[in-house]
Amino acid sequence: MRTPSPLRAAFRQALGEAWAGGAGVLLPIGFFAGAAMLVPFTVGSEASQLSSIGTGILWVALALASLVSMERVFQADLEDGALELWAQEETPLFLVAAAKILAHWIISGLPLVLLTPPIGIALQVDPGALIPAMLAYGLGGLAFFLWGGVAGALAASVARGGLLIALLALPLFVPTAIFGALATVEGPGGPSLLFLAAATLFALAVAPFAASAALRLAVD
């Protein structure tokens, strides 16, 4: 029997787990919406105040929600031995790491981006600005998942590594958060969107290699 390629296996597994026990899709959505819901209670409900900070709240909620289920992405593969098999395949491990992170982003990250307009409207942000802002949230979210993936791979062999992942990943979120917040304020024509895209491309170039080095460490 021919074993499926690790890349396809990674995608199929992530998509298959989307509705499984851990509720891969629903958990980050619930966290994202819940975190945003708390904000009006804590900073006040004046429409002018909320509309000025609404896009920033979405960035914070997106950054935190991207880490919610990161702990399980590589840990599950380490526990059931899949990682060990992938490390011996001909397919380079960095491609497998990239595929795992991208698949996880499609399941847990993209729904959050689709959710930014309704939550943004609830936070009194101008609805016309929210649709173009989805591009920025998508780019930024991908960078969050890539750096989070590196942290998740580093903490794969650590029991209860969830908070460790947050501590490792959050400093790496800073450039994306800055450019992203500026880009959503400037709108699609501004230079910050280009900087945001550059930061995401940088993450795309570095993170898979760092994650694969960390995964090799986890299987040893």
């Binding site: 590196v150 580093l154 903490a155 062999s157 650590v158 590594g161 460790l164 501590l167 490792l168 959050l170 400093p171 790496l172 800073v174 450039p175 800055i178 450019f179 500026l182 900087f195 930061a199 940088f202 570095v206 760092a210 080095a213 960390a214 460490l217 040893d220």
Partner: protein, 243 residues
């Protein structure tokens, strides 16, 4: 050069006298700089009067904070490529010292900022943000090492994280520089010579040198402690195997 220091026996023989010497010389220089700064140099009204004397701690700790992250990245790279155990021990030792100097930089900066700018903390200041992010990078590095089961895994995971952090530092720096800054421009070293009068500059540079030497001495002490710890582990393992 790396080869010569990579030999633990040679390192132990050298650091046996070099580490205390560095600590002594560094402490002398720091005390001299603090004495000059606190009692001798005239107060500068433009920089907020007597509070500018905080500079003689604040500026060296900022230098050391940056230098120690560089040191962490370089020792991690050396360990990752050549697997010299001393490089890993140095990285492990630098991390808490760097975190301490980074915390000291933030604390003295806040104390200096309150009377001169009227606030303890400025979120739109690029340098404060960079140092704060660096503080979290140090904390993450130490937490990751502590979470790993074995020494070898701690070394590998720490090296990967330190290198990922190091390639991100320019991007972090650039992104926070985008923010406007009300901080004064860096005024110690410029192409057309120092902008600071020598009466301030000399104690500052001597103090910076003192902190560097003291830092080197502390690092060597911690590496020595790590070498002894590993030797003790070997002895315990041997004893258990023999029993």
């Amino acid at each position: 050069m790396i080869r010569a220091f990579a030999n633990p026996h040679r390192f132990m023989a050298l650091s046996r006298w070099l580490a205390p010497a560095c600590l002594g010389v560094g402490a002398l220089l720091i005390v001299w700089s603090a004495w000059q700064g606190l009692w001798i140099v005239p107060q500068d009204d433009y920089q907020g009067g007597d509070i500018m004397r905080a500079m003689f701690i604040h500026v060296p700790s900022a230098w050391l904070a940056m230098a120690s992250y560089m040191g962490l990245a370089v020792t991690s790279l050396v360990w990752f490529v050549w697997r010299h155990e001393l490089a890993d021990m140095a990285a492990k030792s630098i991390a808490p010292l760097g975190a301490a100097y980074t915390a000291m930089c933030l604390a003295t900066g806040s104390i200096w900022g309150k009377p001169t700018w009227g606030t303890w903390w400025l979120w739109d200041d690029a340098r404060m943000m960079s140092v704060l992010v660096m503080f979290f990078l140090f904390l993450g590095y130490m937490a990751l090492r502590a979470a790993m089961e074995t020494r070898q895994k701690a070394a590998r995971a720490g090296a990967i994280l330190a290198m990922v952090g190091a390639v991100n530092v320019p991007l972090i720096k650039f992104s926070v520089d985008i923010w406007s800054s009300i901080h004064q421009d860096a005024s110690v070293l410029r192409l057309d010579g120092p902008a600071m009068p020598p009466v301030y500059l000399t104690p500052l540079l001597i103090g910076g040198l003192g902190h560097m030497v003291f830092f080197a001495g502390l690092t060597m002490m911690l590496v020595r402690a790590e070498v002894w710890r590993r030797r003790a582990d070997v002895l315990i393992a041997r004893k258990l195997a023999g029993a």
